[in-house]
């Protein structure tokens, strides 16, 4: 379970470039719930995810995993609970290391770096099994350099890596945005499989309203660092992309025009 209480994040505090990225997020995600997060550019979606992951320190407020307060815990201290997949396919893996070395790093996530061999035959067997789920033939390329794989392949491996260790929370930051439609669909498929298998609590940031409605059981929209609506259950089931757009227009208090191309195109 993730709870955010009155979460505030301010960048460059006290400087002329000060930016209020999050202004009071109150959010509770029960164990096993899959929440999709939408919002225009600069709404604070990625900031929220990065704050929960611990990359960004909150200025005010509290973050709890279950009933454990992790607000002051650095990112590395939260990795036993959190697995992540980034938007940039190059960000989730090391291009200089081989496929198996990358997977070994994820396999050891949340453990202390030990002076035992980083790879062994038991791990290789697990890696091969996992990679064969992708049907990309990567199970035969364990010793290939990651940098030689395509963006889609690298993202697929990142996704598998996120599930190598038991964790309770999965954070997906537009993880299909940089891929072609076919690969994106494949990745989304495997994502759903993994989530179902492991009963994970998931937050998925997406720019596509279609994707936001098709996946998960709850959708929240951020605008200027606040949650402007929170949709779940039967009400959500009846929703279409155009309803979301209407809701968005209504919810915006100042009534400015919806001018974000990406948001419209993503629909």
């Amino acid at each position: 379970m993730i709870s955010c209480k009155e979460l505030h994040v301010t960048f460059n505090r006290g400087l002329p470039t000060e930016k209020l990225a999050l202004r009071g997020i109150d959010l509770t995600i029960p164990q096993g719930e899959f929440v999709t997060v939408i919002g225009s550019n600069g709404a604070g979606k990625s900031t929220l995810l990065n704050t929960i992951a611990g990359d960004i320190n909150s200025t005010k407020g509290q973050i709890l995993f279950g009933d454990r307060d992790v607000t002051k815990l650095p990112a590395t201290g939260r990795t036993a609970d959190i697995a992540r997949v980034f938007q940039d396919p190059l960000a989730g893996t090391c291009g200089d290391l081989t496929v198996e070395e990358n997977m070994a790093l994820a396999y050891g996530r949340g453990q202390r770096g030990r002076l035992s061999s980083a790879l062994n035959s038991k791990m290789r067997k697990v890696f091969r099994e996992q990679l064969s789920r992708l049907n990309l033939g990567l199970e035969n390329r364990l010793e290939s350099e990651m940098g030689l794989l395509s963006g889609g392949q690298r993202q697929s491996v990142s996704l598998l890596m996120s599930a190598l260790q038991p964790s309770t929370i999965l954070l997906l930051d537009e993880h299909t945005a940089a891929l072609d439609p076919k690969t994106a669909a494949l990745i989304m498929d495997i994502t759903s499989q993994i989530i179902a298998e492991k009963q994970l609590t998931v937050m998925m940031v997406t720019h596509s309203m279609r994707q936001a409605l098709d996946h998960g059981s709850r959708t929240i929209m951020l605008h200027e660092g606040k949650i402007i609506f929170d949709l779940a259950g039967e009400k959500r089931a009846g929703y279409e992309v155009k309803d979301l757009l209407n809701l968005f227009a209504q919810a915006k208090s100042d009534g400015e025009e919806l001018d974000d191309d990406k948001l419209l195109l993503g629909a």
């Binding site: 990112a75 989730g92 090391c94 290391l97 081989t98 790093l105 770096g113 002076l115 980083a118």
Partner: protein
């Protein structure tokens, strides 16, 4: 080249093999260009030589020199990690400070070890070998043992984490690796190896001098580049040992250039020769690839 000068070249090449491994760790593994080594090579030599003159056991003195140099690496890492000083600049600051510190450690510009016991003394006359062979064997064992240890280390969980930090910090962090800790460890290990090389150099050559470290970084880089352009491999053992081979080849090339009478070089031309050799080692892989591409194109046509 006489046998005597060949063995001398081999000996220095092997000692600088340890420097090359240290440079490989910072430049290639951690992506942290570290110029501290110019100072930490001398620091290793200065601390060891001073302690030996004071009558301390040679092995303890060598260990002390190594640890002192490792601490110098920690200072550079601290300046970079704690205060966000650019890595290159942080290392230049430490290197500059070390010049004074080395003079202070020795109390004078150089310390002679000619009449003192050294780490070589216990091995003298072993197996009935003449001294000059024994010295080469001793430093070869040191360099190769150091190389094997580092290669083994880089294949452990901890070592793999260090490689991930150099390759992709964000990914490393997302996988629970404490980035700063790995940078500290890497710089300490790298400078420790360089300090050990300095300590061995002082004892095999019979002196420590405040200027002996100048250009260490270039020599180390030259060795890494020559080694890697000759042996393309993914195996950590091959990569690390190729640093030692690169270092020996570099010394042989310099020595041959200086000894070839028709070239007319003198000892003071060393830096030009070094620069040309490094440039050649950098140019060679690119030309080789271009040539291979041309060959392939010709085949298709």
């Amino acid at each position: 080249m006489s046998l005597f000068s060949f063995l001398g070249t081999l000996e220095i090449g092997l000692i600088y093999g340890l420097v090359a491994i240290g440079v490989y760790l910072t430049f290639r593994i951690l992506d942290f260009p570290d110029l501290t080594v110019d100072g930490s090579f001398t620091l290793g030599a200065a601390v060891t030589a001073t302690l030996i003159v004071m009558g301390v056991n040679v092995f303890l003195a060598t260990l002390a020199g190594t640890i002192a140099a490792a601490c110098a690496g920690l200072v550079t890492a601290w300046l970079n990690l704690r205060f966000d000083i650019l890595h290159l600049l942080a290392s230049i600051l430490t290197m500059t400070a070390l010049y004074t510190i080395n003079l202070r450690v020795m109390g004078k510009p150089n310390v002679a070890l000619i009449m003192e016991p050294t780490i070589l003394t216990p091995f003298e006359g072993m197996f009935g070998l003449p001294d000059m062979y024994m010295r080469v064997i001793f430093v070869a064992v040191c360099a190769i043992a150091g190389g094997l240890l580092v290669a083994w280390f880089l294949r452990t969980q901890y070592g793999l984490a260090m490689r991930a930090v150099g390759s992709n910090k964000r990914m490393a962090q997302a996988n629970g690796i404490v980035v700063k800790q790995k940078v500290y460890a890497g710089l300490a290990l790298s400078n420790g190896l360089v300090g050990l090389a300095g300590a061995l150099f002082a004892q095999t050559n019979g002196f420590a001098d405040s200027t002996m470290g100048i250009g260490t970084i270039v020599v180390g880089l030259a060795a890494v580049i020559i080694g890697q352009s000759l042996f393309a491999s993914r195996s950590m053992y091959v990569i690390v040992l190729s640093c030692i081979v690169g270092s020996v080849l570099y010394r042989l090339a310099v020595s041959m250039a200086l000894n070839a009478d028709f070239l007319g070089f003198s000892a003071s031309d060393l830096n030009l020769i070094t620069a040309v050799l490094v440039a050649l080692a950098l140019i060679f892989p690119k030309l080789r690839n271009e040539w291979k591409a041309k060959q392939a194109a010709r085949k298709e046509a």
